[in-house]
Amino acid sequence: MLYARLILMRLLKAVVVLFMIVIFNFFLIQMAPGDPAAILAGEAGATDQEFLRQLRERFGLDQPLYVQLWRYVSGIAMLDFGYSYRQQMPVLDLILARLPATLLLTGTAFVLSLALGILAGSMAAARVKKPSGSIIMALALIFYATPLFWVALMAVVLFSVYLDWLPAYGMYTVGAGLDGFALVLDVAKHLVLPATTLALFFMAIYTRMTRASMLEASQQDYVKTARAKGLSPRVIQRRHILRNALLPIITLAGLQAGQMVGGAILTETVFAWPGIGRLMYEALMQRDYNLLLGIFFFSAALVIVFNIITDLVYRLADPRIKEGS
């Protein structure tokens, strides 16, 4: 019950933020040089004024700005995100078709980076001042410092071209006609490289954060209490230090969600992953305003969903907040 109310409150707030984002982006994109009609005309390889006029009228670009804004905002209120100029399909359909791919990619990367980051971080914290701990931290630092796209390119060269272990691009094998478990396996295989690449940077962050947070938690009085009980170091590490150290990491992970959705743009481009990150980049380049706005809307919504999820997880992990209400 409580959760239901909370989620409702969060959603209400999200609606306000999203509304602001819609308006902000609308004006932002208006500032871009080149209108979609000109781009479409340009792409056609031949054009005349008649063609441009037709396009502008069709997209409502001949209307004053406030009319365009009003149409757009009132459309969104009814979940009508408009029509993609270039793809000639409703924006919502385009995005919904691509959204699962992005969710799969970012979700996997999110879980992967958290799980591995926390694992590596706690290993490093337990091995502080030992060579093995230093090696973990050095690796984390290197992953953190390496440009994402560079890793992606190298991963393709190594795992797809030379070793031929994993597919280099796409989400499934085209034309294989797989279904059921075979399809799941196929998609999973395609997912390995992009998800790992995307996760690497964030994993590095979580590793460092976990270690620092655990070292800090290990200074706390309750750890001394636990030791005074005669608990074994492993139990103390897991039950007392790690559990407490996780709280700031959950918060951080929520804040990182936005970055992860952003990082998906690069990953999706390199790995031809048919998600909304790539769609966004293409839409921007083609001045497909409605589509771009729609994607912004959805990616912001995605970030908010991630935030809500981490909030809920935080509340599960920390009993103190629950009581606060």
């Binding site: 009085d221 209490t225 009980k229 103190r320």
Partner: protein, 538 residues
């Protein structure tokens, strides 16, 4: 006498390089006998907890014993491996700590934390562990133990948490309980209860207790024997009676004397003059804003508070945590704005001032703060910290700095201190700087908010002396806020007792101390540790 439970012989513990001295404790020897409470007393930095930590194997990194032995159960604990130590901890030696707020894992239920002790030593199965935990909670006197067992630490009060800690430490009936300042963070009434509990359990179980404290009042309450420490060395060791009645070492004497005693200032003759500060019907409610996850909550910090303070008078506000005494102080200096009521200073209504007008009038009421470490900007030179006030009120820098030098001289630090940074001073010295700062604006009223609570007793005495001295010299008007009745007794002319935001009782110091009218005041007075002893000796 039989074999002691614990025997410390020639223990020396080295500090890491770069510390302010080479050894935490040096050549320390004492025993803890079967069935006694041994108090180790000392001020901060005396090394009083070091031996306890060493025998538990809980020394901080870089700190290690270099000589001596600690015999427990026929074993030298210093030679044990970590694994052997672990078997000992919890099973044969239990330990409780100072801060019940942080000593429990905030994310685990109380029952689970107690059950962990059994788990660590492989006792009982899951269900039995819960049953034993429940029994323990009952034994340490937690109300509604069946509910408490499922509670998280933050749902319990400080005293209750300390009871949980005790339950945990006693779970496996250890021979020795180490209590490291277990009541220091508690309110005085709670402290009395916990002390009683420890005494009681010790008797019932016939175990030995090593009780570490800085407070001779507490020593008087619980100790069978006392070991007084300073700078890592033992200065005096003996039975409680001997040490308290007839201290041999002058340091011990100084410590005992430094405890603000039961000397109650004489009542001043005559009528109280026209009030300087007049507080009428003050109310303040704190509302925690209803965030997304919390409903709004209200705490009534001040409930219809009225009193007055005459020029040259020292009024003490006494109460336990949550009584609203600090809020009252903050309202008087206008760091908080009261919701209703009036607060007038020599005729000026201070309640309604805001913005620039308030800023210009602020010099009239100044404050001395509790924490000598937090009350000075670490990046500001001391002289400038004092001169800021006058400068903000239009005095030239040059003159303000000169005045700062004089003030530092006045509070006993010497004018040369102006160019130094706060971290170069000790806590007591910093508190002197804080006093100088409050004096710099030549205020009509000074509010001292727990001004000596964070200091060691000997320092506390010096600062109180300084205040007394200044009061005489400058005929200061002082609103003295404290939780410590003993301190209030020493310096205040007039005392106000607060509880739950209301004034319970007010009157001259004498009246309040000697013939308290209200039950709560009496309760407070009775809870003062060592009170019985002092009354006897007085």
């Amino acid at each position: 006498m039989s074999e002691p439970v614990l025997s410390i012989r020639g223990l020396t513990i080295a500090l890491p390089k770069g510390a302010d001295r080479a050894y935490a404790v040096e050549d320390v020897s004492y025993d803890v006998e079967r069935g006694e409470i041994m108090c180790v007393v000392g001020e901060s930095g005396s090394g009083k907890s070091m031996a306890a930590n060493a025998l538990m194997g809980l020394l901080p990194k870089g700190v290690r014993p270099t000589a001596g032995e600690v015999i427990f159960d026929g074993q030298d604990l210093l030679t044990l491996t970590e694994k052997q130590h672990r078997k000992l901890r919890g099973l044969h030696i239990g330990m409780i700590f100072q801060e019940p707020m942080t000593a429990l894992n905030p994310l685990m239920r109380v029952g689970a934390q107690i059950a962990e002790v059994f788990e660590a030593h492989g006792k009982y199965n899951g269900k039995e562990r819960q049953a034993h935990a429940l029994a323990l909670l009952e034994e340490v006197g937690i109300p509604q133990p069946d509910k408490a067992i499922r509670a998280y630490p933050f749902q319990l009060s400080g005293g209750q948490r300390q009871r949980v800690m005790i339950a945990m430490a006693l779970a496996l009936e250890p021979k020795l309980l180490i209590a490291d300042e277990p009541t220091t963070a508690l309110d005085v009434t709670t402290q009395a209860q916990i002390l009683e509990l420890i005494r009681d359990l010790q008797k019932r179980r016939g175990m030995s207790v090593m009780f570490i404290t800085h407070d001779f009042g507490v020593v008087a309450e619980v100790a069978n024997r006392v070991c007084v420490m300073r700078y890592g060395q033992i200065v005096e060791l003996g039975s409680a009676e001997e040490v308290l009645e007839n201290p041999q070492h002058e340091y011990t004497r100084a410590l005992i004397e430094a405890i603000p005693s039961n000397i109650i200032p004489e009542a001043r003759g005559g009528e109280r003059p026209a009030p300087l500060l007049e507080v009428k019907g003050l109310n303040k409610v704190f509302r925690s804003k209803g965030g997304l996850f919390k409903a709004a909550r209200e705490v009534r910090a001040l409930d219809d508070v009225s009193f007055s303070l005459a020029p040259g008078e020292t009024v003490g506000i006494v109460g336990e945590s949550g009584s609203g005494k600090s809020t009252l102080g903050r309202c008087v200096v206008r760091l908080e704005r009261p919701d209703s009521g009036t607060l007038s200073l020599a005729g000026t209504d201070f309640t309604t001032l805001t913005g620039e007008e308030l800023r210009r009038q602020r010099w009239r009421v100044q404050m001395i703060f509790q924490d000598p470490y937090a009350s000075l900007n670490p990046r500001t030179r001391v002289g400038y910290a004092i001169a800021q006030g006058p400068m903000a009120n239009g005095v030239t820098r040059e003159q303000a700095m000169k005045q700062a030098g004089e003030l530092l001289d006045l509070v006993g630090l010497g004018a040369v201190a102006v160019d130094r940074f706060p971290h170069e001073f000790s806590g007591g010295q910093r508190q002197r700087i804080g006093i100088a700062r409050a004096l710099a604006l030549n205020p009509e009223l000074i509010v001292a908010d727990e001004a000596v609570s964070a200091l060691d007793v000997s320092i506390q005495a010096q600062i109180l002396e300084l205040l007394e001295d200044l009061k005489q010299k400058l005929s200061l008007s002082l609103l003295f806020i404290t939780h410590d009745l003993r301190v209030a007794a020493q310096i205040c002319d007039y005392i106000i007792v607060m509880q739950h935001g209301r004034i319970v009782e007010q009157g001259t110091a004498e009246a309040v101390f000697l013939s308290p009218q209200e039950a709560y005041t009496r309760e407070l007075l009775e809870a003062i540790p060592g009170r019985d002893h002092e009354l006897e000796s007085a």
